[in-house]
């Protein structure tokens, strides 16, 4: 199938109008030696029927978690997405539009982004939020770079080991090339960041302390204490969140004086999509806004005195500021943010709290059910929202694979990132996990051990 509206006749007319004898003439500007003499070694074009067949076949060879009892989280969560999201996002007006550079014909996207920004401010308790970044990991790297710009003379970054390992790795990759040192702080036995170690690590040369809460292992950090320690030493504090639904139950970071809240908002209306696209977010205080990376939408008036919305503070951005921009980001995750805005509008105030309550209740129930099997241990005693680590006493990967055959994906085997946690599985629970699924998990896991 070719997506070429011009018929052969029209194409010829166009060539004639241009004044070339053949289409090849148009490419004469490319040196002959560089021009291909044979077709690309790819199959010929296929019809819709055939392409759909191939893709359906590949999809069939991939199981969606909805066909399983899945307890996978670890930074990507299987939440209920109301039908409004899919229905609205499939409007061509949203998904086939470009970046709203011409605001007069982009008010739809602009307003949706403005609403999204507002919602993220409310959720995080921060004063401003941008219109999206790529994902949680790269957003975390952006937050660190932002701190580095703000704290010009400081060149150390302190990061908790409770941060998602892929986020930690991403920050390391980003900073490799820059004169910034990274110091990591271990966890204590309860699974939360060791406060003494953190206080020791953070000094006058530290630009920012980064911690995740709930952290990668599901443990809720003492944000108040970390924020206090940071404030004391005039260090910025950045909190990472990968499960934003936790904010339906936990106090907003803004209330503790966090300077930057950053992370992954996939939970809000975005499908799992085998890992992406997701929705990196960043929120901060008003006084840091000029150092914020990424796009910002602002409210203004038009020449008829009507309210309207535009891209603003773009002197931070690369298309104006080039090498001095706050980030190189251009294309972001606008549609994912639009989905989040639709999701948060539909679920709304009451829903976000209720979903959080369900998630927590399911996790608590699962914790008890697993405990009752008498076959597992819980390495961490710290409080959790909807995710915790289970020590199954055997290689976690093997156990997960075993249960997969029973249509249960028990969780994420931590051995992938932590060889020392060979027997540990990270399990997450959402409102979509039924009691029956959890009971089956406990029974089958018990049976397998």
């Amino acid at each position: 199938m070719k997506y070429l509206p011009n018929s052969g006749k029209e194409f010829d007319e166009i060539l004639k109008e241009i004044g070339v004898g053949s289409v090849d003439e148009l490419f004469k500007v490319i040196p002959e030696e560089l021009r291909l003499t044979k077709p690309l070694d790819l199959p010929e074009g296929k019809s819709e029927v055939e392409v759909l067949d191939i893709l359906r076949n590949l999809s069939d060879k991939t199981a969606g978690v909805s066909k399983y009892s899945s307890f996978l989280g670890a930074g990507a969560y299987n939440h209920y997405v109301p039908t409004t999201v899919g229905s609205l996002i499939s409007r061509a007006e949203f998904y086939t539009a470009y970046t709203p550079y011409q605001p007069e014909v982009s008010q739809g996207t602009l307003l949706a982004m403005f609403e999204y920004q507002t919602m993220m401010c409310h959720l995080t308790g921060m004063e401003i939020a941008n219109a999206s970044l790529y994902d949680g990991a790269s957003a975390t790297a952006e937050a660190v770079l932002m701190a580095d710009r703000i704290q010009r003379k400081k060149n150390k970054i302190v990061m908790s080991e409770g941060i998602h390992p892929e986020y930690l790795e991403t920050v390391k990759t980003y900073l490799w090339n820059l004169p910034i040192e990274i110091v990591t702080v271990p966890l204590q036995a309860d699974g939360s960041t060791d406060m003494n170690a953190l206080k020791n690590a953070a000094d006058d040369s530290t630009a920012i302390i980064m911690a995740q809460s709930p952290n990668f292992f599901g443990v809720i950090e003492n944000i108040e204490a970390i924020a206090g320690a940071a404030k004391e030493k005039k260090i910025l504090f950045g909190q990472i969140i990968t499960e934003v639904y936790s904010l339906g139950m936990l106090k907003a970071p803004g209330a503790f004086g966090v300077d930057i809240v950053v992370g992954e908002a996939q939970s809000m209306g975005n499908k799992l999509n085998y890992g992406g696209p997701y929705l990196g977010f960043i929120a901060t205080t008003d006084d840091l806004k000029r150092q914020l990376p990424g796009r910002l939408i602002g409210m203004t008036k038009d020449n008829r005195d009507q309210r309207g919305f535009v891209i603003t503070l773009s002197t931070r951005e690369q298309h104006i500021r080039r090498e001095k921009a706050t980030s190189n980001i251009c294309t972001n995750e606008a549609l994912c943010a639009t989905m989040a805005a639709i999701h948060m509008s539909t679920i709304g105030e009451a829903g976000v709290k209720e979903v959080a309550e369900h998630c927590h209740s399911k996790a608590v129930y699962a914790h008890q059910a697993l405990e009752k099997t008498g076959k597992v241990k819980f390495p961490h005693s710290g409080p959790y929202f909807n995710e915790f680590v289970v020590d199954v006493g055997k290689n976690g990967k093997d156990i997960v694979e075993k249960l997969t055959e029973k249509k249960i994906i028990a969780g994420f085997p931590l051995i992938y990132y932590y060889p020392e946690r060979e027997n540990q599985i990270l399990m997450a629970f959402t409102e979509l996990n039924t009691k029956e699924q959890i009971d089956r998990l406990a029974a089958e896991l018990g049976g397998a051990l």
């Binding site: 199938m1 148009l26 010929e44 060879k61 982009s106 696209p277 020449n303 080039r322 709304g348």
Partner: protein, 494 residues
């Protein structure tokens, strides 16, 4: 036929203004486990109290709100969207179907390989296809967008040079380059050095020669460049850069001018990024998500971000989390996978023949516009161009009508304007890229509109300077927006 006219539109409040206490747009299954009291395990001071501040509205409110505001957008599905460099081609509907197949949409990135073979195979095949299209040795699908690809590309170069003993200091970038190029170089710890374009709109070999030294880590070159001009000296340029030990990075945003015609990997370039959301027809979504795979020559292949997709002896696909020389992770999980599905679908649909023809039609369409409009608008560079064409407002400026006015007037006439004021080296640039998705009919409508504007500029300039007239909002005050930024909604204080 010029498309724009006036019709019925609808006012709409913000969703927050529609919020009414107690209104609900969702319902959950009844909680089937005991309701846990969070205060039992979590210190109360960490628990949220009071309102979050999210809207309280019903399903019908949500549907109508977003449906109505969607109508305030212009979209590719409405018509020509000739943004130069952005390649707003038509997004085939099949892509939306394949990318939302349940096996793809509901797959968790950490689910066992045994139940992910289809997704992995797709990524594997897509890498292979992109290697063939670009002529490179390896492709990484990680980058989430073009700029991310640039950054990754520069990181690869830096790590490679480091392994050669010296990461070096400078990156040379022509003044016609996209803003992301210098920004990406900077984040990678390099100093961006600007190179002037010559009168043909190309990189001047002598200027390049002058700028090249042992501190040069790389040249970042867009080809065809943002003037639509093919850097015909590309081979020579690569040789020159390589000679001083530098690497050549090619910004592949304009691959729509080359697919099936030439392979950048065979022209001496070391690394290239693609914008799947341009060349490979994935929708732009009002600014994303995109995907910016990076294609590299052999010597850079060991450095690509982890995890990498591999196939074992049994033909099973898996992710290698620890390739020895990888620069490391540049994001979480594997890729903007749902975008990859769309691009792969597109490649299968078009096939070898279709990709090449797409390029041909894209270039022909651009040259048709060039031919038709060059009587009315100033052409700052005479050089032949490929898939896009840059005019300036030089002629109209004399009557007090600027590029911005032309753009706003186009809105009234029902067309999205071209990219404006870019590339920066052209004063008042109008950068037009029609793509292959446009029929002659649609192009003729646009040409007619542009000609009308040229005439209006002369005879009734206020029609342009006061435009747009037809849109739901008039010209927006961007200055005030930036001076006293209002970045979130707050209830009006009375």
């Amino acid at each position: 036929m010029i498309k724009g006219m006036r019709g019925l539109s609808f006012k709409e409040d913000l969703i927050f203004e529609k919020s009414r206490e107690g209104a609900k747009g969702y319902s959950l299954p009844k909680l089937d486990v005991p309701k846990a009291d969070p205060a039992k395990t979590i210190d109360k001071k960490f628990l949220r109290e009071g309102k979050i501040g999210l809207p309280e509205v019903s399903e019908v409110d949500v549907i109508r709100h977003f449906t109505k505001i969607s109508l305030w957008n212009y979209a590719v599905d409405y018509g020509l969207y000739p943004l130069g460099s952005c390649t707003m081609k038509y997004n085939p509907k099949i892509n939306e179907i394949t990318s939302s197949l349940p096996g793809f949409a509901d797959a968790h990135p950490y689910q066992p390989y045994s139940i992910s073979q289809g997704a992995l195979e797709l990524m594997y095949n897509l890498e292979k296809a992109l290697m063939e299209i670009t002529g490179f040795s390896r492709v990484s699908l990680h980058p989430a967008a073009g700029a991310h690809g640039e950054l990754v590309g520069m990181m690869l170069i830096r790590r490679y040079l480091e392994d050669q003993g010296n990461p070096r200091k400078k990156v040379l970038i022509p003044d016609s380059a996209h803003g992301t190029n210098p920004a990406s170089a900077a984040i990678c710890g390099y100093e961006a050095v600007e190179l002037k374009s010559n009168s043909e709109g190309m990189l001047s070999l002598s200027d390049l020669e002058a700028a090249l030294d042992k501190d040069v880590a790389a040249l970042m070159l867009t080809n065809p460049n943002t003037l639509g001009v093919f850097e015909k000296n590309i081979k020579k340029i690569c040789e020159m850069v390589h000679k001083v030990g530098g690497q050549v990075y090619m910004d592949g945003a304009n691959m729509n001018a080359l697919m099936g015609i030439m392979k950048p990997g065979k022209s001496g370039v070391d690394v290239l990024h693609l914008n799947l959301h341009k060349t490979f027809s994935t929708p732009h979504g009002g600014g994303g998500p995109g995907s910016g795979p990076v294609a590299v020559a052999k010597h850079l292949a060991p450095y690509i971000p982890k995890p990498v997709i591999e196939k074992n002896d049994k033909g099973e696909f898996y992710l290698d989390y620890n390739p020895e020389k990888s620069i490391g992770r540049v994001r979480s999980f594997n890729s903007n996978f749902a975008i990859l599905v769309r691009a792969y679908t597109y490649i299968l649909s078009c096939g070898s023949d279709g990709l090449k023809e797409s390029t041909e039609h894209a270039v022909a369409n651009a040259n048709y516009i060039r031919k038709k409009l060059s009587k009315y608008y100033d052409l700052p560079y005479e050089t032949s161009t490929l898939h896009e064409i840059i005019f300036s407002d030089k002629i109209q400026e004399k009557f007090g009508v600027t590029t911005k006015d032309i753009a706003k007037r186009l809105l009234d006439l029902g067309y999205h304007p071209p990219t404006i004021y870019f590339p920066l080296i052209v004063h008042g640039a109008l950068m037009i890229e029609p793509t292959e998705s446009e029929s002659k009919q649609e192009l003729d409508g646009f040409i007619e509109a542009m000609i009308q504007i040229a005439q209006e500029a002369e005879k009734e300039p206020e029609k342009c300077t006061e435009a747009p007239h037809n849109t739901v909002v008039g010209r927006l005050d961007e200055v005030t927006a930036a001076r006293t930024p209002i970045l979130k909604w707050e209830p009006e204080k009375e």
